[in-house]
């Protein structure tokens, strides 16, 4: 009967494994570089820092890499709130790290969006408007 227990254990382990966030580096980098402002749950802070867990995120998905590399100082509207304080650039993040952060956010709050590769990040950066 022991092998049944064994199989059960394996099943349990793999089940846990599947649920785990596959973007470990992205999660770590998010909590280090983004969570201070956008908060660990992606909800942002009142009208000071916008949320990243709402559908509006999609409007900024194509600029994502440029926003991180160059910062953002616009007036933007997210969930009917106006945000005017600038987001500082985070130049120390490389392309792979940016794609990992994007994929973590996407996986956690925007599952309908497609993941991004480091190559896509580079082509976005080549086309930043600034």
């Amino acid at each position: 009967m022991k092998w049944i227990n064994f199989i059960f254990l394996i099943l349990l382990l793999t089940a846990c494994g599947c649920q785990q966030n596959p973007y470990q580096q992205g999660e770590r980098l998010y909590s280090l570089h983004c969570a201070n402002c956008h908060m660990a749950d992606g909800k942002g802070l009142m009208s000071l820092y916008p949320p990243l867990n709402t559908p509006e995120f999609q409007d900024y998905a194509d600029q994502f890499s440029c926003i991180i590399r160059q910062g953002l100082s616009d007036t933007i509207t997210v969930v009917q709130k106006e945000f005017i304080f600038p987001m500082p650039a985070i130049p120390e993040l490389n392309n792979v790290e940016i794609s990992n952060i994007y994929n973590y956010i996407r996986h956690t709050w925007q599952p309908h969006l497609a993941p991004k590769t480091a190559i896509q990040v580079q082509s976005e950066l080549d086309n930043c408007t600034k």
Binding site: N36, M39, L45, S47, L48, Y49, F83, I84, F85
Partner: protein
């Protein structure tokens, strides 16, 4: 039956009282000395700033009110948002206490002018008269931070250009420092909230 119940109940009551209320009085922090049989406690030296509404706020206008002081700057990419979240939590918790004020001192002497602080306060629903946001001058940052038992200094290698702690300092109505908490740690702020309640007991 009665003889057994009474001591048991008493014991339980004692236990509850013992755990429930921590009766130690709130200490006075900093150096104190006895002068002519009276204790003289450390007092934050007199200060005066202009707040986000261009009103003068000073140790004198604060007198009689307890207040929480912290150091920050509006473009701070690191701990400030966390600290502000905790201050907002304290503000909400003690909303009914008009004698609890907040003083947030910006160390960004270049950018955090009155209009910037005003916009920042609006974005966080910060009420005028209760929560004062002020900008420190370059030459006063170190001294003021020291006077509030804190550290803050300009550091080009720190994210955003300034280094400062996330400490929240509790000052009583006479300008004595009575407690502090780590504004980046919700549990530490819970303890500070307990100390604020103790201070209210003293004041009421």
């Amino acid at each position: 039956m009665r003889e057994i119940d009474l001591p048991a109940i008493l014991l339980l009551l004692l236990l509850f009282l013992g755990c429930g209320s921590d009766n130690n009085p709130l200490p006075y922090l900093g150096e104190s000395e006895e002068v002519d049989g009276k204790m003289q406690y450390y007092t934050v030296p007199p200060w005066e700033f202009i707040d986000q509404d261009s009103n003068t706020v000073s140790s004198q206008t604060m007198s009689g009110n307890a207040y929480i002081a912290d150091f920050f700057f509006t473009s701070c990419p690191t701990i400030c948002p966390k600290v502000k979240t905790q201050m907002l939590r304290l503000r909400d918790k003690f909303q009914d206490r008009e004698d609890l004020k907040f003083l947030s001192m910006s160390v960004d002497y270049r950018k955090d002018s009155v209009p910037v602080l005003k916009r920042y306060s609006e974005k966080l629903d910060i009420q005028s008269g209760t929560w004062h946001l002020v900008q420190l001058k370059k030459e006063e940052i170190n001294a003021v931070a020291n006077q509030f038992f804190n550290v803050a200094f300009e550091d080009d290698s720190a994210p955003g250009g300034f280094d400062h702690s996330g400490r929240l300092i509790l000052i009583d109505g006479q300008g004595h420092i009575r407690s502090y908490g780590d504004g980046t740690d919700p549990e530490s702020v819970d303890k500070l909230a307990g100390d604020i309640r103790k201070l209210f007991h003293e004041m009421d």
